[in-house]
């Protein structure tokens, strides 16, 4: 399925992600059982497939969180087999969990994550308005937010990071129709400013209109659709 050749450690033909025969074993279970696919710069790729197909594992592996057991894996020019730590600061991951602190306010959460990555206050304001997180909520504790508002807050922390590769696991989950529109708009804007996006979603209709291409994940194997 791959047309381009993989040269170890080098990003060629603008390929952001280049996986060949990747197997990922965790606790003796091959969650990914031979994934071969590439993602080019500027794409918005939809991962579709049933629960337990390996979508989450694939996204976490792209973020450099999981060791690759077999095969070759390149993300943003970093070889994940030899050094999966180098890629981390350049990708943004939104998993099922939001990574927010319940007892801190929205703004405090934003400030915490932006201080870690060296973002400024105006980055925060921009991110919050982009995702439609009303500024009146900024003094509200995350524990008091609705599920959709928390999701937006998590997305805002992601926007602040200005990652080159966005990895989103069910980003639409928990958002209302308006929130989903704003999310889609945000993702397109991010893509237009140079980011590449891989996301998993059960919202097939909406996701297909957003994605430039979709991949099917089933039984830990990736095929193009």
């Amino acid at each position: 399925m791959t047309n381009g050749k993989l040269i170890n450690g080098k990003l060629i033909n603008g390929k952001i992600v280049d996986f060949a025969d990747v197997v990922i074993v965790y606790d003796n279970f091959p969650a990914i059982a031979g994934a071969t696919f590439t993602v080019a710069s500027g794409e918005i790729v939809l991962l579709q497939g049933p629960n337990g197909a390996g979508k989450t594992t694939l996204l976490r592996a792209c973020a450099g969180l999981l060791p690759i057991t077999r095969g070759t894996a390149n993300v943003l020019g970093c070889d994940l087999r030899s050094d999966r730590f180098a890629v981390r600061s350049r990708v943004g991951l939104l998993g099922h969990a939001n990574g927010l602190y319940q007892d801190l306010t929205v703004l405090e959460n934003m400030l915490f994550w932006s201080r870690l990555v060296g973002a400024t206050r105006s980055d925060i304001d921009q991110a919050m308005s982009a995702i439609g997180l009303a500024s009146r909520l900024s003094q509200t504790r995350v524990a008091h937010l609705s599920a959709g508002q928390r999701r937006r807050c998590a997305l805002a922390t992601l926007i602040v990071r200005r990652a080159q590769l966005w990895l989103l696991d069910e980003p639409h989950a928990g958002l209302d129709a308006q929130g989903r529109d704003e999310l889609d708009r945000t993702l397109r804007t991010a893509r237009d400013s140079g980011a590449t996006i891989i996301f998993a979603s059960h919202e097939i209709e909406r996701a297909r209109s957003l994605a430039t291409r979709s991949l099917t994940v089933a039984g830990g194997v990736v095929t193009s659709t």
């Binding site: 197997v23 074993v25 965790y26 606790d27 003796n28 279970f29 091959p30 969650a31 059982a33 031979g34 497939g49 049933p50 197909a53 999981l66 060791p67 057991t69 994940v217 089933a218 039984g219 830990g220 194997v221």
Partner: protein
């Protein structure tokens, strides 16, 4: 992650080789000699009588326990420092840690029995005893960390770090216990190892015990290390089947 060809796994039918068989026979011979000499040939001690015979087990097992934990630490350091992070180092560290815990247990049991006879008490808060007890608990913790879930690489990394932290910790424990005891009354009891007047045969038997236990230690670690390897290989072979099964999940849809 160690790469082992699947074919290798099929050809291994046991964990014994000619080397380990020779080693095993040697260990049995030496240990038999230690038992016979320790129980029947060596004389009684003037003060302790027959109780002194525990020494032929107690001292060598304590010696081996310390050796085992040094081996664990060195193998862990090699795992961390080696470029390829060869899993062989991790297996040796783990095997040696397990055998070490066994020998500390033997040391503590024989030591307290000996103490009961010579001091009249099972336990004294003597620096050496206290440190040994801490060693026991610390390496039980090390073995618990090895059981944590995660990838093989993660297991190796975590346990190597814990083994090296233990190396930092043991001297601190030992020093604080020595210091603690020296400020308080010195235990006015017989020092089991120091006060024994040893004749030539007793020394030789003790020395044989150290050699015999060392042989047993090496034999155990080599075998344990190989059963761990076989376990990993079985996982890998199972992995190919598991990968196929996993791939078929997708096809059946």
């Amino acid at each position: 992650m160690s790469q082992v060809s699947p074919r290798l796994a099929i050809t291994i039918t046991g964990t014994g080789t000619r080397f380990t068989r020779v080693l095993g026979v040697l260990a049995v011979v030496v240990m038999t000699w230690v038992v016979v000499s320790g129980l029947f040939l060596t004389p009684q001690d003037v003060v302790q009588g027959d109780a002194v015979r525990i020494m032929y087990i107690h001292v060598p097992s304590a010696w081996i326990a310390y050796i085992a934990f040094i081996v664990t630490a060195v193998a862990s350091a090699f795992w961390i420092l080696s470029k390829r992070h060869s899993m062989g180092f991790d297996r040796v560290a783990g095997a040696s840690g397990e055998v070490g815990v066994l020998f500390v247990a033997i040391t503590l049991v024989t030591g307290s029995l000996w103490g009961r006879i010579t001091w009249g008490e099972f336990w004294q808060w003597d620096p050496r005893l206290t440190t040994t007890a801490f060693l026991f608990v610390t390496y039980i913790g090390y073995l618990a960390v090895r059981q944590l879930e995660g990838s093989i690489e993660q297991r190796a990394r975590r346990s190597a770090v814990i083994a090296l932290l233990a190396v930092l910790e043991i001297p601190l424990v030992h020093f604080s216990v020595v210091f603690w005891r020296s400020l308080h009354q010195k235990a006015t009891v017989l020092d089991p190892n120091g006060d024994v007047k040893m004749d030539g045969l007793m020394l030789f038997t003790l020395f044989s015990g150290v050699i015999g236990f060392t042989l047993v230690f090496v034999w155990l670690v080599v075998h344990r290390q190989r059963t761990m390897l076989l376990g990993d290989l079985a996982d890998q072979q199972g992995l190919d089947t598991a990968i196929l099964a996993r791939q078929n999940e997708g096809v059946s849809d």
